[in-house]
């Protein structure tokens, strides 16, 4: 497995998308004016859509990694709906939408077809939102993993069913308000549970590659897509993509919110090979979860009552546990 050369950012000044100071060969795909724009302008995603951005990031990176030899299966969901309302398509890749729950299986089918046709250069990505992945599509996903089918599955996690109007999914975080977990009653918002951690479940299938990524760290995301496309077999990439509408954050704050999720430890970014964690993205500037939560109205009820504050403390405990578990801050760093 080849891994892209690490770049010492302090020598180049910035973590930005482009960075004119880097050699062209190590610049990000997104900085390339000739990038594929796999999800083209004119799509009907909301302003500041993290999923639209994440999908373009990931697919552009994949297109570069496989030299354009890519086919994509897409689950039903926001991403599918806003990109392909008849008569216009925003996709600039060979793309197929079948159903909500079956993207992984459709991916399997496409991979099988390519293999049987001897077109081993053509690679397959299946993708969907969190609903289509961790909930309704979970069986197909697990099946694809278990068979080690040659598919990279990408989940764009915006932590609820946004397409249908922000209902809870099993990726919805503790305490969050959604249309089906309203902020009323004695236990407002979502249950205070950990939720379903599909990356860890994916690892339990001992597949070649599992990673989490975020729109807040493009370079990390692109590196992971590139890495994933250099491996065969079942691979899983979970990308955190804030939804300004569903999360109640400013449309301009999408990346900022994603960044705070990672920097607070609530969204651990790591990678694993064959079931073992092999890398983690260290937190650069650790922040309390409040900083993350306060930007989003889905958590606003937590800051209005003492009980709410207690819930925030529980959420902080989740973040702390992530940090400890994944080793997201250097040992000996102040908590």
């Amino acid at each position: 497995m080849t891994s892209p050369l690490p770049i010492k950012f302090y020598q180049t000044g910035t973590f930005t998308v482009g960075n004119r100071l880097l050699d062209v060969s190590v610049r990000s795909v997104q900085s390339d004016s000739q990038r594929n724009n796999s999800l083209n302008s004119g799509h009907r995603a909301c302003q500041g859509c993290g999923e639209a951005l994440g999908a373009r990031y990931a697919l552009d990176a994949a297109m570069r990694a496989v030299n354009g030899r890519l086919v994509v299966a897409n689950a039903t969901g926001c991403l599918e709906v806003f990109s392909t309302p008849y008569p216009e398509s925003s996709w600039r890749v060979a793309w197929l939408h079948s159903l909500f729950a079956n993207a992984a299986a459709v991916g399997t089918g496409m991979a099988a077809a390519m293999k049987v046709k001897g077109r081993t250069d053509v690679r397959v990505i299946a993708q969907g939102g969190d609903g289509g992945t961790v909930d309704i599509g979970f069986a197909c996903l697990s099946g694809m993993f278990e068979r080690n089918d040659d598919v990279l599955y990408i989940c764009y996690d915006n932590e609820a069913y946004m397409n249908t109007g922000v209902q809870r999914s099993s990726a919805t975080p503790a305490g969050a308000r959604t249309a089906t977990t309203p902020a009323v009653g004695e236990a407002p918002g979502n249950v205070m549970n950990q939720g379903k951690n599909v990356p860890l479940i994916a690892m339990a299938h001992f597949i070649p590659y599992v990673a989490t990524a975020s729109v807040a760290d493009l370079r990390d995301l692109e590196t992971k897509v590139d890495k994933a496309m250099r491996v065969h077999g079942a691979r899983y990439l979970h990308v955190h993509v804030p939804c300004p509408l569903g999360w109640g954050c400013d449309t301009g704050d999408t990346i900022k919110v994603a960044r705070l999720a990672a920097e607070s430890g609530l969204y651990p970014i790591f990678e694993a090979e064959y079931g073992e964690i092999t890398g983690r993205r260290m937190i650069r500037k650790r922040v309390p979860v409040d900083e993350y939560l306060k930007l989003q109205s889905r958590f606003s009820h937590l800051f209005k009552t003492t009980e709410g504050r207690a819930r925030v403390a529980q959420i902080q405990a989740i973040a702390d546990r992530n940090i400890a578990r994944f080793g997201l801050v250097p040992e000996g760093a102040p908590a």
Partner: protein
């Protein structure tokens, strides 16, 4: 090559001769032997190149087939009963996307109560899914229909379901002529997809279509099925030329020329019906039967021609449209516009209840006498039903009906033994 073998094995061999490139398999009785047979053929290298994928559900089976077909591979799967319902939305999706997948349905009932035996409830549940539905009368026809199905599907870019009665055909050892690879190759060309997911010519497949075009899309699906009405007989004819026997087609009339009474049915029960027709003809009754090979598209015109002169039509139906009666008869009435032909709907053989010659003959004779109800249930244990209805009238908490009826029927060794030993004894035409 002629051989005596299990229907499932014959179908597996026939499917293999069609050179499917991706096979999705999930076990469900009674289609399991088909995919088991194919597994051996793929594993042994006899069928190559072919990707055989053991999926985790029927839903995945159809979904993998969708992906494979959309990516340009000839895709096949088999299912039955609960399985076809579990994959239902994918079944609709495959036809919506115009993917020429071929699927065997080993027809079986749908629970609850859970029941593994044959009827047509499963296929009927998906009759509006946009698939072509062909019903095999015998294992020979099952073999032949699969070969035609691939050609038909690919010609039309539309999926085809080959329905064969569970156990009665799938598990039956019969004489079957399995064609040679050369014959099949001569009949079935290489699959050239109408459209595919291909980086060399990228398109967006599966767009979201709003009110402005959805009707048209559905209409076009219908128009394609109407096209199939032309194509199916042509294909049967072509098949006859290549393989030297007739199989398939839209309808297969038997001794209908001068028949006043015509019995219409789907699948393997037609053989039993033909035996009864022969018996009654010998007794001087002007009776014939017609096997509906194609249920979707429904061959209204062809059927209308066959039924033209009959004064009564009896449909023997292995599915019940609960709340109204027969699926076949309601479709069939469309073939008889403006005629005062009497149509009798006979629900028979649900959940594996044996459809016997004796019961059929009694039923036909009752119809000819004019004593048959427009909707009747062959060999229904009327007493058991009435007792349960009374119980329900008397008390609110009566418990599960199925168990109560089983209790009424008395001690049995097992479900299988009970159906075979007690079956024909239970009740007369209602």
């Amino acid at each position: 090559m002629l051989k005596q073998c299990e229907g499932s094995q014959a179908v597996a061999e026939a499917v293999a001769l069609c050179r499917p490139e991706v096979i999705c398999a999930y076990p469900i009785t009674p289609q399991t032997h088909i995919v088991e047979g194919l597994a051996s053929l793929v594993k042994s290298g006899a069928l190559s190149p072919c990707e055989y994928i053991n999926v985790e559900s029927e839903f995945a089976a159809m979904s993998v087939a969708i992906g494979a077909s959309a990516a340009g591979a000839r895709a096949y799967t088999a299912t039955a009963s609960q399985g076809i319902l579990y994959m239902a939305e994918a079944v609709y999706n495959a036809s919506g996307l115009g993917l020429p997948i071929v699927m065997t349905v080993g027809n079986r009932s749908i629970g609850a109560p859970i029941n593994i035996w044959n009827d047509h409830t499963d296929s009927m549940a998906l009759r509006d899914a946009g698939w072509i539905q062909l019903f095999a009368e015998s294992n020979q026809e099952a073999v032949d229909l699969h070969i035609q199905a691939f050609k038909l599907a690919e010609e039309l870019s539309m999926p085809v379901m080959v329905c064969m009665d569970g156990f009665i055909l799938t598990h039956a050892y019969e004489r079957v002529d399995v064609p040679t690879q050369e014959q099949v190759d001569a009949f079935l060309p290489r699959y050239v997809p109408r459209q595919s997911v291909d980086p060399d010519d990228p398109v967006t497949i599966g767009a979201m279509v709003g009110p402005e075009a959805f009707m048209e899309v559905r209409y076009l699906a219908h128009a394609k099925q109407m096209e199939a009405l032309e194509l199916i007989p042509q294909m049967a004819e072509e098949f006859r030329r290549v393989f030297g026997r007739s199989s398939g087609g839209l309808v297969r009339p038997y001794r209908c020329e001068d028949a006043e009474t015509i019995v219409c049915a789907l699948g393997s029960v037609n053989g039993t019906i033909q035996d009864v027709v022969d018996e009654m003809r010998e007794a001087g009754v002007k009776i014939g039967s017609v096997s509906l090979c194609s249920f979707r598209p429904f061959p209204s015109a062809a059927l209308g021609k066959v039924l033209g002169h009959a004064s009564r039509v009896i449909t023997i139906e292995k599915s019940l449209s609960v709340g109204i009666g027969g699926n076949v008869s309601h479709n069939l009435r469309m073939s008889l516009p403006g005629r005062d032909t009497k149509v009798y709907t006979v629900i028979a053989g649900l959940g594996g209840r044996a459809v016997t010659k004796a019961s059929l003959r009694r039923t036909f004779e009752a119809a000819i006498r004019g004593t048959l109800d427009p909707l009747s249930f062959m060999d229904l244990n009327v007493k058991a039903v009435e007792r349960q209805l009374e119980r329900e009238k008397a008390a609110r908490r009566t418990g599960p009906a199925a168990e109560a009826i089983l209790r009424d029927l008395g001690p049995t060794v097992g479900a299988s033994a009970s159906t075979t030993t007690h079956g024909p004894a239970a009740g007369a035409a209602h």
